[in-house]
Structures are given as C-alpha cells and as structure tokens.
C-alpha cells in the first residue's frame, strides 16, 4: 500500500471520476474517427476511387505519321523523314544545372540559350515538358540513351520531320511545321487531343489542311507506380496516319516557272481557266525549306527577315501591284457592256490626252493616230482608254472591276491572302481624303493610280476572259487520299465559280485583240510566242507607287514593274498565267518570256 491509499479516502473516488471522463473522451474520439471514415469511404468513396485510378495510370499519346503532299500527277512534293528530339520533364526531378551540364557535354552544337531555357522551364512551369533539342543525330541519341538512367528528366522522342525531295520548290505554298504554341493550343481546344509539344503546320497548305494531314493520335494507357515507372499496358488505340494531300500543282510547270524567275524578283500565278486549279505559284526570291526542318534557328530567321528582297513574302497572294495595261481589257469589257463605245469606233491618239487643264501622256510620245478597240488593246494605246474611262465614269469602272473579282480575296485555300484595291469615290471618302478627281478615273482606266491587284487575281481575270465569263475559285487542293483508304476527293466543300453575265460578243473582241498582242506585228507581247500554239495575252507596265516605300529604297526601286498576263491555247485555253517582275521595266521584255516558259512547260 502506498501512502496515497490512506491519506484521503475521497481521493480515490475523484480519481475514478477523472478516469471515466478520460475514457469517455477516448471513445468519443474513436466515434469521430468512425464518422470520418464513413464520410471518406462510403460517402465520398467514388470520388477518391476516381482520383486513385487517375494517378495510378498514365496515358501516352502515340503520334500519327503526317500525310505527304503530292502534285496533281501523284509525284511526291513533301515527304517525311524520321527525326529525334530531346524533351525535358522538369517534374521528374534532377537539378537543372546537372541537366544542362549533361546536355552540353553530350550534344554537339547545343543552342546557346539552352541553360536559360532549362532553368526558366524548371522554375516557371515544372509540370510541362519542353523540347530542348529539336533535331538530334543518331550519335547524340546513342550518347544520351547510354546515360538515360541517370537522367530520367530527359526523354528522347521521335519527331515528325519533313523531307523536300525537290529542294527549294514552292516553299511558301507548302509552309513549314513547328511545335504548337499556347495561342494555337487555345484555338484548337475544340478539336481536342492537341497537347504541348505536338508538331503542327504553321504556314501554307501545312496550315490550311493541318488537321487532315496530322491524322489521329493513338493512345496507350499504362499502369504506373508513384515514381512513374511503367508497370503494364492496360489498353492501346493505334494512331491513324494523316491523309496524303494531293495538290492541283503541276510539278513540271512549277519547276519551269521557278527556273524562269531565277534571278528576278516577282511572282507567277498559273491556273486552269476551267476550274481554278492552281498549276504554279511562284514567289521570288524564296528560301530553302530545309532551314525550317525541326525549327529554324534565330540567325537564319534574322537573315531571312532582314533580306531586302523580302523572301518570306508570298507575292502571288499577298503582293499587291498596280496592274498597268493588263487592266485595259477590263476597261474595254465594261465600256462595251455599258455601250459607251463600240469596237469599231475610232479615237484619235496624238500621244497625249487633255482633261481640263491637265495633260495625260500616252506611252507612245508620237501617238497612235486613229485607233479602234482591237488596235488600242494590241498596241496598248493609253489615250484611247483615257477617253473610254472618262465616258464610263469611275462608278461603273469600279463596279465591273469588282465583278471581275478585283478588290476582294479570291478565296484560295491558303492563309493571308490579300484582296487588292478597286478605288472609287466612296473608298476615298472612307479614308477621309479630298474628293475624287476625274483625272483619277482615267488613270484607273489604264490600271495605274490606286488600283492594286495580286498576280493571282490577274491570272483569274484572264481565265475569266478565256472561259467566257466564269469567275473561277482558285484552289491548291485536289483531294485527299490514303493507301489504306478510299480516296476522298472533296472532303470539304469547295467555293464554286461565279458566273458573271458577260456577253460573249464583247469578250470575243477582247480575245481576238489579245491574240493579236502576241502574234501580230506591232503587238506588245511578241516575246511570249510559242511555236505551234496560239497565245493570247497583254503586257503591262506598272509605275512604282508603293505606299510603304522608304527613302533609301526609292533609288533602286524606281524602275517600273513589268507585267504579262496571258492564256493559251487561245481557242481553248488550258492555262491562264500572270507574271509580275518587280522593277523589270517594260512588260513585253521582262515578263512575257517568263509567261511563255510557264505555258510551254504545261502545254507540252
């Protein structure tokens, strides 16, 4: 017996009471835990069950092979080649500095900004993998995979790379590939399945038809443990390769057009007058698409951007030039439709034209004498069209210009097309400039002043003359096909050509005159003649009126732009072409030979 048992008899009772309270508190605690257990396991069990299965499985995407790009005859234009890239997963641990050190030791020519990239990715968005080397050699692969165990944060992945068997051919048209950026991810949210690191089309048809070329991703679902190690494959859906895109482009015509433009600045647009199929689209100077495989480096990009020849601009669609005399057939057509002149009426050309107090020159200082419409077109008499333009007035001239497809985009299936400009008083008013002058009307009638067209629009206008008033919708897509699947020719509705109410009688007059331009003496387009084939065309010389020109460029860019627009064969046209040679001088000398080579290549 201890002293406590004798000193205070009441003490024992009080102690027992406290023990009861403590035991009660203990049982109460257990009850609370039981309720909590019930909440987690029974009431919220499903929710936790989902989270459990979510974190014990990993889904890996299997990338499909990208579709190839073919020409109208099935020749390969853009193919694929196997590529390797190195991706960095910051959340898999590892010190960024040791990662950087390892890469610099094992990857020759690692980009200079690599340390900054790795550190910033590790700091700012550690849960998102980042491609740090876009194109790797087999040697590098061997060296990195030998150490993959020590660097789980680095993963080598196959990367889709393009192959260009014809070198720098139509690089703007094809476009290039690049990793999807945040903005593009947002735009593609509704399509689903796109994830950071995916390689998508950035320009040209690679962009327009990206979803079809891309294919369908496959999915592999794995069970993994907490450190991400794969335990087993649960399910797999194979990837479906993308559709091959067959273009309307004709490889031989495109090649001939590019060869003809060698050393020149300018553009060629050639289409099939019957259906708007684009046969060739050339923009010179251009660039080597090889530079873009696996991503262009900063230095190459800077050089391209700062090149005074602007090789990145896609001139046939985005280059806007005054059409010069190639616009005269439009003025002629409008005037005959409106009845302000007949083909036979003669107008006297003394070499200049007086309007009020101003004098406008004809390009031929001595004058053409008396000219009718056929001769006015054939010899490109300015005075004749000044008078016709004055009779028409600007409203009607602009209205017919819009009917012929000028002043708005053609709707070709490529991005960033420009619409050109058909000036009228309303346009000047919108810009807040001084009222329209009649002088501007007669300048517009010969395709100068504020009129701006793209080479593609002009080619379509000449197709319009040739096919009797059908304003075709240009397109580069012929269809989609796949070796395992039946070909799809029209998966997406194509814009159809618009039929313009043009009288064949008047168009015949123009067609006859355009043939004379090429084949008759004193015609301005003799340089485009092809042996055995009748060609119809029109020269043009556009004064340089670039609004964004800088002072230092002015001197070398002062020469006129040379135009030639044509179609052939003249009786049943199969090709319509527009050529512009920047600062090429007179259209007949600089542009007509190019057009001839393009038409010849296609028709032979």
């Amino acid at each position: 017996m201890s002293p406590a048992d004798f000193i205070d008899p009441l003490q024992a009772g009080r102690q027992v009471e406290r023990i009861r309270r403590l035991a009660f508190a203990g049982l109460l605690t257990l009850s609370v835990l039981l309720v909590r257990l019930f909440m987690i396991q029974v009431l919220e069990g499903d929710q936790f069950h989902r989270r459990a299965s979510l974190q014990s499985s990993r889904v890996r995407q299997v990338l499909p092979e990208r579709g190839e790009i073919l020409d109208r005859n099935g020749d390969l234009l853009v193919g694929n080649q196997p590529g390797l890239r190195l991706r960095y997963f910051p959340d898999r641990g590892g010190d960024p500095d040791s990662t950087i050190e390892f890469i610099q030791a094992n990857v020759p020519l690692a980009p200079a900004d690599l340390p900054d990239l790795v550190r910033s990715v590790a700091r700012t968005r550690p849960y998102r993998p980042e491609t740090i080397i876009k194109r790797m050699s087999r040697d590098t692969l061997a060296r990195i995979s030998a150490h993959s165990f020590e660097h789980p944060e680095l993963e080598i992945q196959t990367a889709p790379l393009r192959r260009y068997p014809h070198g720098p051919l139509a690089p703007h048209l094809f476009g290039y590939l690049g990793e999807v950026n945040d903005g593009e991810l947002g735009e593609r949210k509704h399509v689903g399945l796109f994830a950071p690191g995916d390689v998508i089309g950035k320009q040209g048809v690679e962009l327009t038809y990206d979803l079809l070329l891309f294919g369908t991703k496959g999915v592999e679902k794995f069970r993994v443990d907490a450190s991400g190690r794969v335990q087993e494959l649960i399910e797999a859906t194979p990837a479906r390769p993308g559709w091959d895109l067959r273009l309307t482009l004709d490889l031989e015509t495109q090649r001939a057009a590019e060869a003809a433009m060698e050393g020149l600045r300018g553009a060629v647009a050639a289409i099939d007058p019957e259906n708007g199929d684009v046969l060739a689209l050339v923009s010179h100077p251009d660039f080597d698409p090889e530079l873009f495989i696996g991503g262009i480096n900063h230095e190459d990009w800077r050089v391209l951007r700062e090149d005074p020849g602007h090789p990145l601009i896609y001139r046939p669609l985005t280059g806007m030039y005054p059409p010069g005399s190639t616009y005269k057939p439009l003025t002629a057509w409008a005037a005959m439709e409106e009845g302000v002149i007949t083909p036979d009426e003669e107008i006297y050309c003394p070499g200049q034209y007086r309007l009020g107090r101003r004098t406008f020159r004809c390009w031929r200082a001595g004058g053409h004498g008396k000219v009718d419409m056929r001769r006015a077109l054939k010899e490109s008499c300015d005075t004749y069209f000044y008078e016709v333009g004055r009779r028409l007035g600007i409203e009607r001239l602009a209205q017919y210009g819009r009917l012929a497809g000028f002043g708005r985009k053609t709707g070709i299936d490529l991005e960033n097309e420009k619409g050109g400009l058909v000036p009228d008083p309303a346009w000047k008013q919108r810009l807040g400039r001084e009222p329209w002058q009649e002088g501007e009307t007669i300048i517009a009638a010969i395709g100068q002043g504020s009129v701006l067209v793209t080479p593609l629009q002009l080619a379509r206008f000449y197709a319009f003359i040739a096919n009797g008033g059908h304003l075709v919708a240009p397109r580069v897509r012929a269809g989609f096909e796949h070796t395992d699947r039946p070909a799809v020719t029209e998966p997406v509705a194509l814009p159809v050509s618009t039929v313009v109410p043009a009288s064949d009688v008047w168009l015949d007059v123009i067609r006859d005159a355009l043939e004379a331009v090429v084949h008759e003496p004193r015609g301005t387009g003799g340089w485009s003649r092809i042996r055995g084939i009748r060609v119809a065309g029109k020269t043009g010389t556009a004064q340089v009126v670039r609004q964004d020109k800088r002072e230092e460029e002015l001197a070398e860019n002062l020469r006129d732009h040379a135009w030639f627009a044509a179609y052939a064969p003249a009786d049943k046209a199969r090709i319509a072409v527009a050529v512009v040679v920047e600062n090429g001088g007179h259209g007949g000398d600089a542009a007509a030979p190019v057009a001839r080579k393009v038409m010849e290549a296609y028709l032979r």
């Binding site: 205070d8 023990i19 203990g26 609370v32 835990l33 039981l34 029974v42 069950h49 989270r51 069970r223």
Partner: protein
C-alpha cells in the same frame, strides 16, 4: 499475501485476443505495403511481436508495485539512452532517433513514454496531497519528465515529446491537481505553443501544420501525405479492394506506408468494414484499460492503468486522425500496427503491466 500465487487468473489474459488480432492486422497490412525485397521487414516485425507477447507474459507475472519502485532508475537509464542517441544515434527522416545494438535498432524515446507513466504514477502514489497537488509540489516530478522531453526535443521529435508530456501529466492530472494550477498549465501551454511556433519549431514542422490546415494548396509538397492517404482510404470504399489489391499503397503512392500510415493500407484493402473492426478492437482495449484503472485496488495501480490508457488514446486518436486528414502529420505510431520494434515492445510492456494490475486487484 499468502494467497497471491493462487490469485493467478487466466481470464485476464483474454485481452491478448484483440491484441494478437491487431498484430495480425498489422502484419497483413505490412505485407501488402512492402515490396518483395523488403520482406525481411515482415519477419523482423513478427519477431518483435513474438518478443512483445513474451514480455506481456513475463511482466504480468511481476508485481507492478515492484516495477513502479524501479521507475526512477528506469527513467535514468532511458535518459541515458536518449543521450546516447544524440551523441551516437542513427539518423533517419531529418532527425536522430535510433541507437544500433548489433542488428537491433532501438528507439529509446518509445520507452520514455512508459518511463514517464511509471515515474509519474510512482511519485503521485507516494506524495499524496489533500485537494490535489499545487504548483510547488509538481516541480519534483516535472523535472524527470522535462529532462526526457527535452532530450527527445533535441532529436528533434516533436510528436514523441508531446506524447511523453501528455502521458506523464495525464497521470498527474488523474492523481489530482489543484484547479488553479491546472488552468495555469493550460495557459502556459497556449503561450508555449505560440512561443514554439516562432522560436522552436523547425521549418518542416511548421510546414506540416500548414499542410494540415490546407493540404490541397500544394498537393505534391506539404499536403502530399495527407492527400495521398485520404485517396487510399477513400479508394477502399465500403468493402475494400481486397487483400493485396490496394493499388495506392502497393504502387507506393502512400508515403511511409509501413510506418505511420499503415492504417490507410488496411482501410484501402478492407474498406469501411475493416476500418470499423479495427476501431472496435481499439475501443475494446481502451475500455479494458479504463476498467483496469477504475477497479484497481490501490492508487498506484489506478494511476498506472490510467496513464497507459491516456497513452493509447493519444496514439490511436492522433495517428488515425492524421491518416484521415483530421490532424497534422506527427510521428505517432499506431499501436500494434505501425512497424517498429521499440513501439511494439513498449506497448506490450504497458499491457503486461496493466494485466499485473488486474491480477492483483483482489489482494489486500
């Protein structure tokens, strides 16, 4: 006294049934949680349980009065071991808690919990005060407790330090403390908590408290333990995923799953049904301890059983509350389930001691 040998009552050993069941649950859950390479852990724990059961039988045959009379030397030995830990201990998990004796790793801070109960009960039984102890009376028993607590804090092991303090002062509280003293202790506790937040707690301890208050704020950081154990428990549902089928623990999403989070392994594999059974077993042990305390024939026996009851309530309550996300992550092992020889041994010694109290309750 002559009847003592004849008072040996086999029925008191029925408490071994729930304890052996809990040990079995512990081993089952452990086998689910460890990988094949870690299988030795299983045999080690089974061996510790065997030793522990043997200790129950041995201690229960000894007179608790004799054991209590040895409490001061026992406490001094424990303090010595705690000092050895600090000087030559084995590190793990950011603190120094073990001493290696050949293949055995001993964690003296576990023994300190029992030493605290023994010492407090022994002292209280020998220094009764009418109306309860006053502040001055508490100085002597507190010194021994605070030496142990201080040594454990130096490791640092906050959870164990709190457990020693609660068990020791739990005994003093049951023995009787003047009300005013009780209130001032509570007040000191609050001030101490604020003081330790700013001056004593290590950053990882503060993080755990922050993580407990808002585990989803940083799911892969501070709150990881809590979220993962809740996912595991919830994944079990009503009937559980079945033995060996717990994906969360087996795939090692669960942290420290064979130490402090073993309950979540059990709850995932055996569900709400298994969890309830486990809680009922613990409730049975608490009730048995309470009855032992209430029916003890003397103050010493009463205080010993009461202190051990407080010890069990604290460990069961805090550990499971932690696993279910109701308490911060503190390193208090779940009795008979958490892997660890020292804890198993300490709990078995404690149970043996209470059986000894039960056996001798009719002797006068």
């Amino acid at each position: 006294m002559a009847r003592e040998s004849r008072t040996f009552d086999v029925t008191e050993y029925t408490i071994l049934a729930p304890i052996v069941t809990l040990m079995g649950i512990g081993l089952l859950s452990l086998s689910s949680a460890v990988t094949e390479a870690q299988a030795p852990v299983l045999y080690k724990q089974a061996t510790w349980f065997g030793v522990g059961l043997l200790m129950i039988l041995v201690v229960s045959r000894l007179d608790y009065r004799w054991i209590a009379s040895m409490s001061l030397p026992f406490s001094i030995v424990v303090c010595g071991l705690l000092a050895v830990v600090l000087v030559a201990g084995v590190s793990g998990g950011g603190s120094q808690r073990w001493i290696g004796i050949g293949p055995i790793r001993l964690q003296p801070s576990e023994l300190a919990k029992l030493a605290a109960v023994l010492w407090a009960a022994h002292w209280s039984a020998n220094h009764p005060r009418v109306g309860g102890a006053r502040a001055l009376n508490l100085i002597v028993p507190s010194v021994v407790l605070f030496v142990m607590v201080g040594l454990v804090m130096l490791q640092p092991d906050l959870g164990t330090a709190v457990a020693i303090l609660v068990a020791g002062f739990g005994v003093l509280f049951v023995a009787g403390i003047d009300r005013r003293v009780l209130y001032s202790i509570a007040g000191t506790g609050v001030i101490g908590a604020i003081f330790s937040w700013f001056f004593l707690l290590r950053p990882y301890q503060k993080q755990r408290i922050v993580g407990f208050l808002n585990p989803e704020a940083d799911p892969l950081g501070i709150g990881y333990h809590t979220i993962q154990s809740k996912i595991a428990v919830g994944n079990g549902g009503v009937w559980g995923s079945g033995f060996g089928q717990g994906t969360q623990a087996a795939l090692h999403f669960l942290p420290e799953q064979h130490t402090d989070f073993i309950f979540s392994v059990w709850a995932e594999e055996w569900g709400f049904v298994g969890g309830t059974i486990l809680l009922l077993l613990f409730a049975g042990i608490i009730l048995w301890l309470a009855r032992a305390a209430i029916e003890a024939k003397d103050t010493l026996g009463r205080l010993l059983a009461a202190g051990i009851m407080v010890h069990f309530i604290l460990h069961i309550g805090v550990n499971i509350a932690m696993v279910l996300g109701l308490a911060p992550v503190v390193g208090l092992p779940l009795p008979f389930l958490t892997y660890g020889g020292s804890a198993a041994l300490t709990n078995c010694l404690a149970i043996g001691l209470v059986i000894s109290v039960r056996e001798r309750r009719h002797i006068f």
